[in-house]
């Protein structure tokens, strides 16, 4: 029987030392899109994993169509018509679309697979909801947006009539988001219930019928989307007023600090990823690089800071040629880097806050002398950084992996910015970071710009790029398709991100 209502009643989930959900009540009905809004760590994912049978609630119950149910595993949730589209797709890349859909299902041919039957039904579902995808295509060859369709098809194929969508738009271009919203509207019109998890306020406003806001594991509000606005939602989410628009003085035209000429680099598969990119960043300006993930931004950043082999072209810092310099030499040249993968490249997970904070400067006085640490100086130094950059940590000895994403990012920021760099490369500085920390990081980046640093900001978040940048370069398939002012509309930027050239 299709889902009419699903209720979460008084759900609490306790992990050792953490109350992730605290007596949460939530309900969703057929034919509506419910947005679940909250910062990272607010308990959205935990709650949804309980609803999908991946976690068991410490207390509380779930009712489907008024009947209390117990989920031991996702299979039980699926059997009740609840499907989940994970943020990280649960697809087998080496399988075809049909094989991915068929996986785990009973076959009409007993022990033999019935991929023809599956393909046929996938086509029908695709036509019905606008989820067009070739059932015989290999998943790893599909674009991200298409892979997402496969995920939705998997759930629909299993007769899911409640779909939980965990930050589904994070991987899409603005155009793909519009298309995706069209799919959601069709699903709603067909009588499905949808839970849309997000922390992007404008998307929540655009697509949902109702919003429930979680903070610190508790429901802090539920409103009809029409009756609210982004400002109010942000306040509910964070618990205070949030600044999203920055007043910044006009950039002073100053000397070029970072000059990139016809730079070329390969990606990890040894294919060209950066194709003759030329950019200049002046001291005291933020140059934003917009683009959909995987268009060479990561390789560009790594090549510039000396972490990736440069296959052609040159990099200059303050007029000095630093092409082929090692990361250590780049640091000497005054280049700071906030890497995209902060858990891998930004920190050493097992090291303490203090150790991570001095990764770069630990060989210099006063932190150490003649290969020996001066721990008192280290502690003073780190304590000052932690205070100055508002890193919330139980102690300086706490392993960094125990901090939240936002606090880890603030620690990296503290380490990189305290060296007063001439050039700062910030790659996805606020990805996966909550609104409060995002606001703080934005403030710091703008301060750095005003202090005369040349900032190269790489971000997939268009709102962020537009709010911070003095100029925006759009990257597509390894090339810069155009450089435009930050006042350029999201639509126009979106077209450029999809490869449309801009003559300027």
């Amino acid at each position: 029987m299709p889902i009419q209502t699903v209720e979460l009643r008084n759900i609490s989930k306790r992990f050792p030392g953490v109350l992730a959900n605290d007596r949460v009540n939530l309900d969703v009905r057929a034919g509506e899109i419910l947005a679940l809004l909250g910062e990272n760590g607010a308990g959205k994912s935990t709650l949804m994993k309980i609803l999908y049978g991946m976690y068991h609630p410490t207390e509380g119950e779930i009712a489907v169509n008024g009947q209390v149910v117990q989920f031991k595993s996702p299979a039980d949730a699926l059997a009740q018509g609840i499907g989940m589209i994970h943020q990280h797709f649960q697809l087998v890349p080496g399988f075809t679309v049909a094989e991915n859909v068929a996986l785990g299902l009973k076959s009409s041919r007993g022990p033999l697979t019935d991929l023809n039957v599956v393909s046929q039904r996938v086509r029908e579902l695709g036509a019905q909801y606008g989820l067009h995808v070739d059932p015989n295509a290999l998943v790893w060859q599909l674009a991200v947006g298409q892979q997402q369709r496969v995920e939705i098809l998997k759930a629909l194929y299993r007769d899911a009539s409640l779909l939980i969508l965990d930050e589904p738009t994070a991987v899409l271009t603005p155009q793909e988001v519009q298309e995706f919203f069209g799919i959601l509207r069709r699903l709603r019109a067909a009588g499905n219930a949808l839970i849309f998890i997000s922390h992007k306020l404008y998307e929540v406003k655009a697509i949902s019928d109702r919003v429930v806001v979680l903070r610190d594991g508790r429901v802090v509000g539920g409103v009809a989307t029409q009756a609210t606005n982004q400002k109010e939602l942000a306040r509910m989410m964070v618990g205070r007023e949030v600044i999203t628009q920055w007043e910044k003085p006009a950039a002073q035209a100053r000397e070029t600090a970072l000059q990139i000429d016809k730079l070329q680099a390969l990606n990890d598969k040894q294919l060209p990823a950066v194709k003759e990119v030329s950019l200049q960043v002046r001291a005291g300006e933020i140059l934003g690089i917009a683009g959909v993930s995987g268009n060479g931004q990561r390789e560009l950043a790594e090549a510039v800071v000396g972490m990736r082999l440069i296959r052609g072209g040159s990099v200059r810092v303050n007029g000095k040629d630093v092409t082929h310099h090692s990361p250590a030499q780049m640091i000497q040249a005054g280049v700071a880097f906030i890497p995209e993968e902060r858990m891998v490249m930004g920190i050493v997970r097992e090291f303490s806050v203090a150790e991570n904070a001095i990764l770069i400067t630990h060989t210099e006085p006063p932190l150490s002398r003649r290969a020996l640490f001066d721990f008192r100086a280290v502690n003073t130094h780190v304590a000052r950084l932690v205070r100055e950059y508002d890193v919330r940590t139980p102690s300086l000895e706490t392993p960094v992996k125990n901090l939240s994403g936002g606090n880890i990012q603030k620690l990296i920021l503290a380490r990189e910015l305290s060296r007063s760099p001439r050039v700062l490369i910030a790659a996805q500085p606020t990805r996966g970071v909550d609104i409060g920390a995002t606001e703080y990081i934005h403030k710091r980046l703008i301060e750095q710009r005003s202090a005369g640093t040349a900032v190269l900001l790489i971000s997939e978040d268009l709102e962020e790029v537009r709010a911070l940048s003095d100029r925006i370069a759009v990257m597509y398939e390894g090339e810069i398709v155009g450089i435009v002012p930050p006042t350029t509309s999201v639509e126009e930027l979106g077209l450029m991100m999809a490869g449309a050239k801009k003559d300027s």
Partner: protein, 311 residues
Amino acid sequence: MLEQLFAPAVIIGILASGIQLATPYLYAAVGEMFSQISGVLNLGVEGVMLMGAFIAYYAVLRTDNLLLGLALAALTGALMGLMTAVISVTLKAEQGISGIGIYLFGLGLSDLLFLVLVGTPKAIVGFPELDLPVLSGLPALGPILFSQNILVYFAFACVPLAWFILNKTTLGLKVRAVGQTPEAADSLGISVARVRYIAVIVAGTMAGIAGASLSIGLLNIFQQNLTSGLGFIAVALVYFGGWRPFRVMLGALLFSMVNALQLWIQTLGIALPSDIAGMLPYILTIIALIFAARQIVTQPTALTKPFERGE
């Protein structure tokens, strides 16, 4: 001297023994392939083969019942597969290291049992050659392909069977899924552990049979370390074959043919130091692996990684 090698009878002899020698590799490698495709590197094959070889040999020595010997070898293999599964899947032990443990266990136990129960090597009567009607009468092809013992035929039959199971059945789909993206399989309600148990036990059973094919099909004897590295070659053959049944078979054939060649070189007394000749197959393996490792898309990406749910 070398021209002796090109006499028709010798060529037929080399090819026939090449086919025959491929048998234990095929059983072991096809089984190992299932295990690896499900994400478990089963390095203990060699030890399981030794146990299978001894059990089969001992049963035949006592009862003269070849099928009983084969069945007991398969059972022994299955039990050791179960043991491997408990260690690598449930207890999540490091697979390379625990595999070596299982190898040493099989090596030691088979030797001990042999010394206690048998003592000195005694020959047995193994599976006889089975001439297939009509086909075995074909010139050249007959003696090469159709005048072998039944274990040889079955070994080659396993290859298309494995292909069919992996590519045409729901079980095969699950095995491939848990070896590539166990999280995805888990999210669809598939028990990763169960599928891996099945694959690892299949691998153990096949390794047991592989051992039997040696002790009661090919050599008809048992001695300490009878397999002498054959199980490890089988593991390498799976990589060589890129986790595809027919390529694994090609690898097994290539290897056994070179082996047959060097045996004949020694038999014919051709002046090539026997140590060098004996090394040929192994040198070939290394060279082949270097080239084979490159062009692989079917690699089970979760190989050797225990599955743990959630973050």
